[in-house]
């Protein structure tokens, strides 16, 4: 098995190492190559703009001969690169895989499908392309001898030209790492009312998350708070969903939470089917009480 890891990070390198065989990491600067020393058998440097999926795809195609598998992270640009190269290689592209096995020329992977209501076990012939679901492959890649080489003359005048790049505003929110998340949904009537959730999160020592409409439609919170299929995938020890109905696309982001608790005034809200503890109550009545009681508890 020879795996080409693009946009390499620890998780990808570990995932690749579980397949055995040789690992090549494709990077886009000398500096990146130095940082990776000892973590891949070969380190290939292609000096191109990693933000350009076109250019990265060209570099991957150039570097691919001799490999069986391309491994990518589950980012939007990596997904674009994956689609481009998979078609050119005539290969399958298994996205967001949860597990991975190679057996006699075939790669086997599991992934969530159908709005995260089912798990698919998919088999594809090598060569293939895979992208790894975030946070699923945790371990240390073994230390190896590295050789560094350059990918010469990647013929690229990218067809898509980047005119400007604007960083999204980043707060202190790191939902992926939060141990406790108090998450808000459309059960909140006004933006100002979210203050309650922030207070509750504060007394619990947690962060505030939200459902899609709060960030995307109402824009009451920046997108970094957005949890779900198209938002953040989180794995706190406590996820407290307040005024969230629990649509599958939201649940998709919280499957790995240890305990899910929910507050909703509708006893038939689907969130209760996906929660360990559900409270049927008006959030406006119970959240202030919770803030009060928990802050007293913590003060002890």
């Amino acid at each position: 098995m020879k795996t080409l890891v693009v946009y390499p990070n620890k998780e990808l390198l570990y995932a690749a190492s579980t397949l055995g065989g040789e690992i090549t990491a494709l990077v886009f600067s000398q500096k990146e190559a130095e940082a990776l020393a000892g973590k891949a058998h070969r380190i290939l440097v292609a000096e191109i703009d990693p933000k350009s999926p076109d250019a990265v795809a060209e570099a991957v195609i150039k570097a691919f001969p001799g490999h069986d598998l391309v491994m990518l992270p589950s980012t939007k640009n990596a997904r674009t690169v994956g689609g481009l190269i998979a078609q050119r290689l005539g290969a399958e592209f298994l996205t967001d895989v949860l597990s991975l096995r190679a057996e006699g020329g075939v790669i086997k992977a599991e992934r969530y499908v159908f709005g995260n209501k089912a798990v698919a076990t998919v088999e594809a012939q090598l060569p293939a392309v895979v992208s790894i679901a975030l946070g699923r492959f945790q371990g240390e890649p073994p230390t190896v001898q590295s050789i560094v080489e350059r990918v010469e003359e990647v013929a690229i005048a990218p067809k898509v030209k980047i005119l400007s790049v604007e960083e999204k505003p980043r707060g202190a929110v790191k939902l992926e790492e939060a141990e406790i998340i108090v998450s808000v949904g459309r059960g909140f009537k006004k933006k100002e009312d979210l203050q309650m959730a922030f207070e509750l999160a504060k007394v619990l020592g947690g962060q505030v998350g939200c459902s899609r409409p709060i960030a995307a439609d109402l824009k009451w919170l920046p997108e970094e708070h957005w949890v779900g299929l198209s938002g953040k995938k989180v794995k706190p020890k406590l996820y407290l969903a307040i005024g969230i109905s629990g649509q599958p696309q939201h649940i998709a982001g919280i499957l790995d939470s240890r305990i899910i608790a929910a507050i909703n005034n509708d006893p038939s809200a689907p969130i209760f089917q996906n929660a360990d503890y559900g409270v049927v109550e008006d959030l406006y009545k119970i959240v202030p009480i919770l803030i009060n009681k928990i802050s007293k508890l913590k003060a002890k």
Binding site: P53, D54, T75, K76, T80, G82, G83, L84, I85, A86, Q87, G90, A91, E92, F93, T95, Y112, V113, F114, G115, N116, K117, A118, V119, T121, V122, E123, A124, Q125, V160, K161, I162, V165, E166, K168, R170, I180, A216, L229, S230, P248, R258, I260, A261, F272, N274, A275, D276, Y277, G278, V279, V280, E281, D282, I286, I289, L290, K293, I294, L297
Partner: protein
């Protein structure tokens, strides 16, 4: 501007039929949600020209699913597409993504387009790879995750919405563009539009019509995801009592 829209007749995951396994044959189709945004954008862009939809039926049984796909596509026509191409062939059931993209690209080559629009991903599989694959197959540039789109002098200028940043990019036509749900508010067709859609053409094509052959299939099995949660519901008592109970439980679990 001649526009092609990739309209996936996707499995309606809200109505997933589950027994011991997922019963795909019995799960109905619907338009993949984000494709509605692509249709909306196409209808806005097309001007005097035409916008057509392309779908590949990927699930069987074929006869039943063709009927369902037609019904679903009527909705896309009611939103303002002028015609649709429904690619159906036994060989496309459970086809690999490579094969699906080949079939889609073959329709686009046949009918022509200045721009191909698609949703960022489909609601059943959510792999988001088809737009890039179709672009690769056509040899066109691809611009993914677009939340704002303009056409200016033979080029698209688009705002791409990525994880940590927003990019403005430009690319020459013809081009493949995938859009996010934020790009627009898809229209709800009027009764009049729904009636008019009954008269618009649904063209059925086989691989032979497209002059291509496809073999690779993908092997996949599906099992329902059973979520093991305790489902303890606190519904009796005053808000005060309920809060107390919840706190008790959460303390027992050691999470607060």
């Amino acid at each position: 501007m001649k526009v092609a829209v990739l309209v996936k007749t996707a499995l309606d995951t809200g109505q997933l039929r589950v027994r011991d396994t997922v019963v795909i044959e019995e799960t109905p189709f619907k338009i993949s949600d984000i494709d509605r945004n692509a249709i909306e954008e196409a209808v806005k862009l097309k001007g005097q020209d035409k916008a057509y939809g392309v779908t590949v039926v990927k699930w069987g049984p074929l006869q039943k699913k063709i009927q369902e796909a037609e019904n679903v596509l009527r909705e896309a026509l009611a939103m303002g597409l002028d015609e649709v191409y429904l690619v159906v062939d036994e060989k496309l059931l459970n086809a690999s993504h490579t094969a699906t993209a080949k079939a889609i690209a073959a329709v686009i080559k046949k009918v022509g387009a200045d721009i191909v629009l698609a949703g960022e991903a489909t609601v059943d599989n959510f792999t988001g790879q088809i737009p890039a694959r179709v672009a690769a197959e056509l040899g066109w540039p691809v611009v993914t995750y677009v939340r704002e789109l303009k056409i200016e002098g033979g080029r698209v200028v688009a705002k791409r919405d990525l994880e940590d940043h927003v990019e403005v990019v430009e690319a020459p036509l013809p081009v493949v563009v995938s859009v996010t749900r934020e790009i627009n508010q898809p229209r709800i067709p009027t009764l009049l539009a729904i009636r008019a859609a009954m008269k618009k053409p649904i063209n059925k094509l086989t691989l032979a019509d497209l002059g291509i052959d496809i073999t690779p299939k993908i092997s996949a099995s599906y099992r329902p995801l059973v979520i093991q949660r305790k489902k303890i519901i606190i519904k009796d008592g005053t808000p005060e009592e309920k809060a107390e109970k919840l706190i008790q439980y959460l303390r027992q679990e050691g999470v607060i």
